[in-house]
């Protein structure tokens, strides 16, 4: 069994601590806010200048001056603040944003991240990806375990241009939760019904299995979450 995109977001959300300041990338990470456990207060950052990003604006209620870094119309929660790019990247590069959850093209066993330069894409764009990768102390990757063609994305060494070396702390996929440690990859959790060998089979780099490696705690059926079997 593998997790849906929502299942991955649910699993990441469980790990964001109360009071953390979190930057979310596009794609799977953008689903995370709806899955925060009840009563847990986390402040979401958008690099174009928001702390306290709220839900997407309801149709017809968009404010033309309130977008997030993906240029979606969002809302501002009570206690939110707005600021310019210089202060926003002080927050990022200075390590004040405690967590970021981003997508990846490739992650290497030593924590190298490649997520800005897409193979075959002739127009390059880096945006804030490098500043996030160099600046955020708890950099989490949320992605599918393999490419749409079934190739592993967790590699011995990245093939694509690096976003930053040795920056990823933890990887959440549809198959597993994997920590990146000084000794390499450490498999902490597997998707319900999978065993470590099945995860290793889809992972190029060697996995060590954590003492206490267990199945992820993700509900099988739950509003907004669909598990693909």
């Amino acid at each position: 069994m593998t997790l849906s995109r929502e299942g991955i977001a649910y699993r990441v959300a469980a790990d964001l601590p109360e009071g953390s300041y979190v930057n979310l990338g596009i794609g799977i990470p953008s689903l995370i806010p709806s899955f925060l456990p009840d009563g847990r207060e986390v402040v979401f950052h958008s690099e174009n200048g928001i702390l306290g990003v709220g839900p997407t604006a309801a149709p017809g209620e968009e404010d033309p001056d309130v977008v997030n870094a993906s240029k979606e119309y969002v809302t501002l929660l009570p206690g939110s603040s707005v600021f310019d790019h210089a202060l926003s990247f002080t927050m990022i590069r200075g390590g004040h944003i405690t967590h970021a959850v981003i997508g990846a093209i490739e992650v290497a066993a030593n924590g190298d991240l490649a997520n800005w330069s897409v193979p075959g894409e002739k127009v390059p764009g880096v945006g804030g990806a490098m500043d996030l990768a160099f600046g955020i102390p708890n950099l989490f990757v949320a992605m599918t375990h393999v490419t749409s063609k079934g190739r592993p994305k967790i590699l011995n060494a990245c093939q694509c241009p690096l976003t930053a070396p040795r920056c990823v702390r933890r990887i959440y996929t549809d198959l597993a939760v994997i920590d990146i440690t000084a000794d390499g990859l450490l498999l902490r959790e597997v998707a319900p019904g999978l065993d470590p060998a099945a995860v290793q089979a889809k992972t190029e780099a060697p996995l060590q299995i954590a003492a206490g490696c267990r199945e992820m705690d993700v509900p099988a059926t739950w509003s907004g979450v669909a598990l693909r079997v």
Partner: protein, 234 residues
């Protein structure tokens, strides 16, 4: 009496010259001085170097300038795959691109405005974007040297202004606008509204008028507000 207000965008951009280096504020459409840029399209200056977070969209504002073949070089962090005009010119080799990480871009502009000779940032060390740049190890970590960026003109957008050029912004409009205002010889601002002197309290002025040369009030272009569907990838 100090009065930086001008009657039209046309008048405000009249002095832009061929070969000028221009900073364009905004993040996507938010805080983007679209009508000043459209006036520049009419004005005719060409062979421009544009400094901007993105590359604009299709045929409006910066995208329009690029479409018209007026931009020789773009310094940007994220020329979106949706920036059709840029994409076409760039792939034909008709436009040079200097790609700069977003935080480094704003910091280089800040250094230009603040009279600094450059700075060391960790961002990019060990990646393709630091190739050819000086690397220095400081306190055990690698840093990349980055120099200041200045421009002949900055085109920026704010919400309200007074005759001194004091600016206030709404919501997420600030983005690159505040820093770009510090780093150009001539700073031209498009605002929603001009208020009397004293109409902005000292605390609500986000950018003091010292940085500003010309201000024009224009109604927002209706084409700019285009709500997108929630949840889509950017």
């Amino acid at each position: 009496m100090i009065d930086k207000t001008m009657a039209s965008c046309r008048e405000a951009v009249a002095t832009v010259f061929d070969g000028a280096r221009i900073m364009f504020g905004g993040f996507g459409d938010v805080g983007m001085p679209g009508q000043l840029i459209e006036a520049l399209r009419d004005q005719g200056a060409t062979d421009l170097v544009a400094i901007s977070n993105g590359a604009g969209g299709g045929g409006y504002a910066l995208g329009g300038l690029i479409q018209d073949g007026r931009v020789r070089k773009l310094m940007a962090s994220f020329p979106s795959p949706r920036a059709a005009a840029f994409r076409e010119r760039y792939l034909k080799g008709e436009l040079e691109l200097e790609l700069i990480p977003q935080g480094t871009l704003v910091e280089r502009i800040r250094a230009g405005g603040a009279g600094l000779g450059g700075f060391y940032t960790p961002t990019g060390a060990g990646t393709a974007l630091a190739e050819g740049k000086e690397i220095r190890v400081i306190d055990g970590r690698e840093y990349v040297f980055e120099g200041p960026l200045k421009a002949d003109f900055a085109f920026i957008k704010a919400h309200r202004a007074d005759r001194f050029g004091n600016l206030s912004f709404r919501r997420t409009m600030r983005n690159f606008n505040q820093i770009m205002a510090t780093a150009a010889t001539t700073v031209i601002v498009e605002v929603d509204e001009i208020v009397p002197a004293g109409g902005l309290s000292a605390e609500e002025i986000h950018t003091p008028g010292i940085f500003i040369d010309r201000v024009v009030a224009v109604a927002r272009h209706p084409q700019l507000f285009q709500p997108r569907k929630p949840g889509g990838a950017a």
